[in-house]
Assembly symmetry: C2
Homo-oligomer: 106 residues x 2
């Protein structure tokens, strides 16, 4: 785990989110905790693949798991990712001019 400087550390978060399947997982978790098996159905990949994706998100501090019985329910910890993703979507929908996000200024 090389976290020499801020940029290295921050990049871990972006790397974790830099995959469509992981963004789909984050999207699914935005409405509340979901277990791995349900995420498997949503994503449509092998369970091992989904588990590894979740592991990446967990190591980056974006989600956390809560074991209940034989299931592990994951939920978002770094909640501001949801807002940022929405900002990106807005940008694509109405590309041009300034970023329409509010409350995040300098």
């Amino acid at each position: 785990m090389s976290l020499d400087n801020d940029f290295e550390r921050e990049s871990q978060v972006f790397k974790a989110l830099a995959h469509p399947a992981r963004l789909q997982i984050v999207s699914a978790l935005a409405d509340g905790p979901v277990c791995v098996n349900d995420l498997r159905e949503i994503v449509g990949s092998d369970v091992s693949t989904v588990s590894k994706h979740i592991s990446v998100l967990k190591n980056a501090g974006i989600v956390k798991g809560d074991k209940r019985g034989q299931n592990v329910y994951y939920e978002i910890v770094l909640t501001c990712v949801i807002g940022f993703i929405k900002c990106i979507d807005l940008r694509f929908d109405a590309a041009g001019g300034e970023c329409s996000c509010v409350g995040q200024g300098e």
Copy 2:
């Protein structure tokens, strides 16, 4: 350019930011436009490497270039990235509890 769905499209932005050198560039641009040569000194890599990093950021719609004379000054277009990065930093500084970001809630 495969942009089949939203997740694919969004991941392009995160991929672009998923590198310490590129985050360093974004950080440098947060205070205003900077040309490639100055960024080269800041990042400390070969100019060609820096240029390619910028190219990634540009293709993702995060920065845009403005040619003045023989220099190209880059600036941030997706300004909300700055706020998001700050949120990440805050999270690391005081890890625990809820995300301290405001104005980005559901």
